[in-house]
Amino acid sequence: MTPLLSTPAAGRCLRTIGTLLHNQQSALMPQLWTASRALSTGTGQDQYDVVVVGGGMVGAALACALGSSPMTSALRVAVVDGQAIDPAAPLPDASEAPEIRVSAVTPSSVNLFRDVGAWSTVQSARNAPFDTMQVWDSAGQGFVRYSAHDVDASVLGHVVENRVLLAALHRRLSESENTHLVCPAKVDSITWPESEVSESDADVRRESNGQAEASGQGAGASVHLSTGKTLGARLVVGADGGRSRVRSLAGLRTVGWQYGQRGLVATVVTDREHSTAWQRFLPTGPLALLPMGGHYSNIVWSTTESHARALESMPHSDFAAAVNRALSEEHAPQPPSSVSSFLPALPFLGGSSAGGFQPPPRVVEAVGRRASFPLSLVHSGKYVQPRLALIGDAAHSVHPLAGQGVNLGFGDAQALAAVIAKGVSTGRDIGELGLLEEYEAERRAANLGMMAALDGLQRLFHAQSAPVALARNLGLDLVQWLTPVKKRIMSYAMGMEPVR
């Protein structure tokens, strides 16, 4: 029934049916713009409960989460994206070299994928679980080695190509009955309802003579698309990435800064298979080598602008050599492979099952294209407004230091879906500010914590003065040996509740 009603022309004929359903109080349409009303407006505007602008990883995850919870699956959801989305597209061939855009997804993000039924698709494609993380410093002996065993988990995360994550979510999207893909279509403008804070006063004054408001927009927002179409929405979700158009159309301000650095991404082949996320802090910034399955690994190298440009354009062989130098040779000597020979035994601090320092694999060759992007920290002053919520990079973009960017976004999607479900269960208007503020309060705290941690780490590791480098070394050593502290840091990085 609902797909038919989304086309205005068909809808007009269905007016009586809609009214009928309305009268029968169809159990299918709890909080929906009921057919009779949507059509009686005659504006030709398609009515939705939620319009998600941006079908990227985070927006798609939200739509999937809404579609798979019994409390929200009857909501009419539109996903708008400027690019064409083909849910039936085949998964990338695992024998090909992986894409350079990858994400390190945490166990809690994996749970979201499981909940929405998208994880099995990811598992059928290339994905690289990693059970160890090793972080070390180029300026001294400090290193941290985390193991999944330290937190009684089997893996610390999975490295997955963004296109695989996207494809898995898009497949699920197309399966939920009340979710509609509207693409390619860009958002041109949005009409927000009259300020809901003061609307009652205004209405009483304006309409005290008994003329109830007859405009078709009701209390909803209207999203005007580049295709000329207009979508009515109880709730508009801005999931349109770091340069969010929705955010600027809503007049929400951001705070943030550029790090004056670029992140370079590349795919490489290593001399051996591994299941460790390696990260070395260099004077210019951190370099990460992530397992991608088989002999493939992904490189995320944050460095100065000029260095990044140079790395991006140099020949494959030079690039491979540069990575090897940066990982293994340059700067200070490697930490000894067993710290117990270096530090006095401190049994009361607890040991680590991950063992001592391990040298990273050697890069044999670089494959495919390389790309770089500017590093910045951006945080929206507000995530919500009446009938608006921002999620993912639209609300915050972080330094990609710990691969947390998309995980924070998945956390937003999860939290917003839960708040909407809670709202439906208590009969609230899902676009009402009071409800959306619950989402904002929950996620702001979580995101700010992570952003501060990443920003702090970036600044700490960027400093090259001797005392800071010394403290950093000492800090890393202590973290390595203070197992409880380490566990807490790890659970944070894994997107879990701190382990006690």
Binding site: V204, G423, T426, R428
Partner: protein
Amino acid sequence: MERQLFYSLFRVSRISSILEQTQRSSQSLPPGASAVLAIAAHAYSGAAAPGKHCAVSDPGSCLTPLSDANQRCQVNQSKKQEDISIPTALSPRSFHHGGALCFSTGARPNHLENHKDFKLGESGRSSAETPSTSGRTSEGTERHQPQKASSPSGKSQSKSSIDAGEVAKFAAMADSWWDYHGDFAPLHKMNPVRCAFIRSALCHHFGRDARNPAPLQGLTILDVGCGGGLLCEPLARMGATVTGVDATAVNIEVAKLHAAKDPAIANTEYEATTAEALVAEGRQFDAVMALEVVEHVADPLGFCRSLGQLCRTAGGVFMSTINRTPRAYALAIGAAEYVLRWVPRGTHDWSRFVTPEELALALDRAGLEVEELAGMVCNPLTRSWSLAEDTGVNYILFAKKIH
């Protein structure tokens, strides 16, 4: 799981005679003296053992019906076993019950008939100003002569149980009903918790599937004292056919205008009338709501009777209000109105607050039996509300119609 529920098995487990004296006298004390008493009340509630059968859960989540069922079983069991104590904030009045005040959903609370001190306002300001030894109403007499006692159920609105002064107070505030950050912000914050309780109790009572986003389809609900429609709208979204009535015409206008904006709830009916007038018309509903109303009503007993009469045989009544404890005074009036300014000054009059025991008695006399009772507590830091076993300040109950 959506709420913490416990059935109407009240038991005053321990009575401290010293506290009894203090609290009895507190009824006529000026506000300034209440701080001391609040401390005393806290000391007492700290000593009382919490009801052990009351599981706490997330009020907002409705997605795990299995555990809901489990919890029900658990509570039902405990009901059979014996009782659930009200652990905190015993009201001044409850001390006059003397010893164990206990009745179960199965057995009629006959011994309450002998409770001599129970008296719900014959005049507008009865409770606090009437010494506890005077003005008693004989339960027995009143039960057998219900017509006399429920005199307000007349034809004209002038005989309404709503006090004229109270009506004026609310008309002045009507404009701000739907401002989430305005005068009614606390009500907006508390509303989802009330809705969660109502949803759960109705699903249980009428055998509805709590996983359904709109489980109240086909139920008719009357909201007495609907104000700007804060409760009507969510109930309509949950599928119910809702009628909201309010004695203040301005509120009804605000409610109508607001509901007209949202097609999903546009079929909600609003009428400027009173419960008593609807009784006279012979109207009946599956469920009748009177939330945060009884404390503004001049004749609570007559009001409860009207609610009972508006309720179908298999239906039930929901009521919520503020308990009459020193802590409620300190929080609801002292803190909320004067310090934090959550609600406009003058909204509440402490003497009109009603204890759960008193309300249960009044409902009992109106042919309604309390099935479920929960406290609603506000975290002062986050200002978020949740259902809890502490009924010492705000509480909500569901009573089913038995005759």
